[in-house]
């Protein structure tokens, strides 16, 4: 018998009597929070920045203001030819993206309780770029903010996902004497534009 069958047989023999799966009652957690306000607060706690803007044009002009002297920029926002310094072809070799300065992506879901922003393969041309970029900028429609993680998962079809990620703030570590340092292995800053 191979290990698979041995393990499954042992688990079956050793498990306790069936215990029912508890139901999740979301009313218990509801506090009727101001979602936009809470979202902004939590992104800032996580070390990120939030700006409220009117449209994507303002996103890119504000991004250029914030990061004026960057060499390599990429976004998949519409009408962004003036902003992009690289094309999709370059992205196909992610190993060459180590010098990417600014990346602007659109998200469809944010979570108020922890400032997390959701990205999937649909939003990211190449999986590694939100990590390999120096500065990460995300655009999120205000009405797509949900209060808690429960509502976030209710909005996500488990059968559709190939790869997805919640990002809350820039990459960070406190592994040297518990001193917080922003910019560990991933992005060194994270900015969210609420539209």
């Amino acid at each position: 018998m191979d290990s698979r069958d041995t393990i499954l047989k042992k688990l079956k023999a050793n498990k306790p009597e069936f215990i029912a799966l508890p139901k999740i009652n979301l009313d218990i957690f509801d506090e009727n929070i101001d979602m936009v306000k809470e979202f902004i607060r939590k992104v800032e706690v996580a070390g990120g920045k939030v700006f409220e803007v009117t449209d994507n044009k303002e996103v890119l002009s504000k991004t250029q203001e914030a990061f004026p002297d960057t060499k390599v920029n990429f976004t998949n926002l519409d009408d962004s030819g003036f902003f992009n310094t690289i094309d999709y072809e370059t992205l196909k070799n992610p190993h060459k993206l180590n010098d990417l300065d600014v990346l602007v992506l659109e998200s469809t879901l944010g979570v108020a309780e922890n400032g997390a922003v959701w990205l999937t393969d649909n939003d990211i041309p190449v999986r590694v770029i939100p990590f390999i970029t120096k500065h990460l900028v995300l655009v999120l429609p205000k009405e797509n903010i949900v209060p808690y993680m429960h509502q976030a998962y209710n909005a996500l079809d488990p059968e559709v996902l190939d790869y997805g990620i919640f990002i809350s703030g820039p990459s960070k570590t406190a592994d040297i004497e518990q001193s917080l340092v922003i910019g560990a292995q991933g992005a060194m800053s994270m900015t969210v534009f609420l539209v």
């Binding site: 290990s3 698979r4 041995t6 393990i7 047989k9 042992k10 688990l11 079956k12 050793n14 498990k15 306790p16 009597e17 069936f18 215990i19 029912a20 799966l21 508890p22 999740i24 009652n25 218990i28 957690f29 509801d30 506090e31 996580a46 992610p94 190993h95 180590n98 309780e113 922890n114 400032g115 997390a116 590694v128 990590f131 808690y148 993680m149 429960h150 976030a152 209710n154 996500l156 488990p158 790869y163 997805g164 990620i165 919640f166 990002i167 809350s168 703030g169 820039p170 990459s171 570590t173 592994d175 040297i176 004497e177 518990q178 001193s179 340092v181 910019g183 560990a184 292995q185 991933g186």
Partner: protein, 460 residues
């Protein structure tokens, strides 16, 4: 070596122990502030407990469901009965893909299986990419904490290590500079890696996906650049549905560091184009632990480390004193199930104060299980002569009030009269670093009787 002996080594540097104690208590405090912000936190813990208990009672079924879905997603699934088999499977995958350079993000399971030395012996370079893990790897040590692997090292030690191995300049332990240099060093490793190994925080039965949580982004940097991604998980990492992540991701980071969520919560389900994804499912003693009704709830653990941060013993004895992959209170209830003799002192490394159980996000009755392991260990493993004899003697004294009174009077007399050198001599382990209380002339019993008599006299 026993826990107390190893703790003695850690305790030689008193300043470091004080820092360690305070640093971890601060993390516990951040956890408190964070969870008190969550309405329904206790209910969330109940749900975490309930979902895990349900899953364990249906574990074989969920694992099969997970496997079937992962295969449908184009992921290869492997099963390992023990650590050796796990290492051979991982090595086999690497060999098949001609992978010589491997980056690894944090995985306590691969530590438990001693994967690194195995791969290194087979001529494969393995780089731990979590900063704390990289520090202990360079120092040729084990992590001393599951979330804060290098908490036992101070910044000057890290400075020296980096000078030696990464060629950094002396910086008086500047964390910003050292982290920046580690980032450069690890970027090189990520870009040239042939394969990436990650752990698994949660594996979802209903869709065959799995979630990995990091703050640094190292799991993603590795997995998205290498051509092969191997994810290693214990059988107990399964949860039934994606919606259950809503419960566990709310619990995990708040309990671990006080963050409302880790910076990155990555949901892997299908490999990217032209790359391979493997999952290795490992038993290594977990099915045994599942067979023990008193101890099976230890398999609920989601590895947040909250029980370590709060434990008065762990904070003062350091993670290495447990001599196990998982230290602290949770490690002390997991390890005896693997080797009762080797780990027989761990369940005694506790005051049974219950703080671990109070902070556990999935409500494992850790201190109760510590107590229960003590009962088993007392019966099944040889105990020190003095402990055995003194326990038997104390048992007799406590069962007879008159004898207790007499012995108590003698003991108090001895404490008042005899020199400290004699009272704290070698059979009295307590006296090694502590003094016994002052001996009183009157026992509580005598004092109480006298008081009652005085009352009666007053009434007359």
């Amino acid at each position: 070596m026993s826990h107390s002996k190893l703790a003695g080594i850690f305790n030689k540097d008193e300043k470091k122990v004080d820092w360690h104690d305070k640093a971890l208590w601060f993390v516990r405090h951040k956890r408190d502030l964070s969870v008190h912000e969550v309405k329904g936190w206790e209910e969330l813990r109940n749900l975490g407990h309930g979902i895990k208990a349900h899953t364990l009672s249906h574990l074989d079924v969920y694992l099969e469901q997970f496997e079937a879905n992962a295969l449908k997603n184009g992921v290869q699934v492997h099963w390992a009965a023990n650590g050796d088999e796990h290492n051979q499977i991982v090595h086999g995958i690497l060999k098949e893909n001609h992978a010589k350079k491997v980056v690894k993000s944090k995985s306590m399971l691969t530590e438990e299986c001693h994967l690194n030395p195995f791969l290194e012996a087979n001529d494969i370079e393995v780089i731990d990419t979590d900063l704390g893990e990289r520090i202990v790897q360079l120092a040729k040590e084990q992590p001393s904490h599951i979330v804060l692997p290098a908490i036992h090292k101070n910044k000057l030690e890290v400075d020296e290590l980096f000078q030696e191995h990464l060629g950094t300049k002396p910086c008086n332990g500047d964390p910003q500079y050292l982290t920046g240099e580690a980032r450069k060093h690890l970027r090189e490793k990520f870009i040239h890696a042939d394969a990436a190994i990650t752990g698994v925080n949660f594996a979802i039965a209903e869709n065959g996906g799995f979630v990995v949580c990091t703050n640094e982004g190292n799991a993603d940097m590795g997995a998205h650049l290498a051509a092969v991604h191997i994810a290693c998980m214990g059988v107990e990492k399964i949860i039934p549905k994606q919606e259950h992540l809503g419960v566990f991701l709310r619990l995990l980071a708040r309990s671990a560091t006080g963050q409302p969520i880790t910076t990155y919560s990555s949901h892997f389900r299908k490999p990217r184009k032209d790359t391979k994804m493997h999952i290795v499912i490992v038993d290594n003693g977990r099915s045994e632990q599942l067979s023990r009704p008193d101890f099976r709830a230890s398999l609920h653990c989601i590895r947040c480390g909250a029980c370590m941060n709060t434990c008065p013993i762990y904070r003062r004895s350091g993670g290495h004193s447990y001599d196990a992959t998982i230290p602290g209170p949770i490690g002390s209830i997991l390890s005896p199930g693997k080797d009762l003799t080797k780990y027989s002192t761990l369940p005694f490394a506790s005051t049974l104060c219950g703080s671990c159980s109070d902070v556990c996000p999935v409500k494992i009755d850790i201190h109760t299980q510590l107590y229960k392991w003590r009962q088993i260990i007392g019966k099944e493993t040889p105990q020190p002569f003095i402990k055995k004899k003194s326990m038997a003697a104390m048992g007799k004294i406590f069962s007879k009030p008159s004898l207790y009174g007499k012995v108590g009077a003698v003991a108090h007399w001895a404490l008042r009269t005899l020199p400290k050198s004699l009272i704290n001599s070698w059979p009295n382990i307590w006296g090694k670093t502590r003094d016994l209380p002052v001996g009183h002339k009157q026992s509580f019993d005598q004092w109480y009787k006298e008081r009652e008599n005085n009352k009666k006299d007053d009434q007359k």
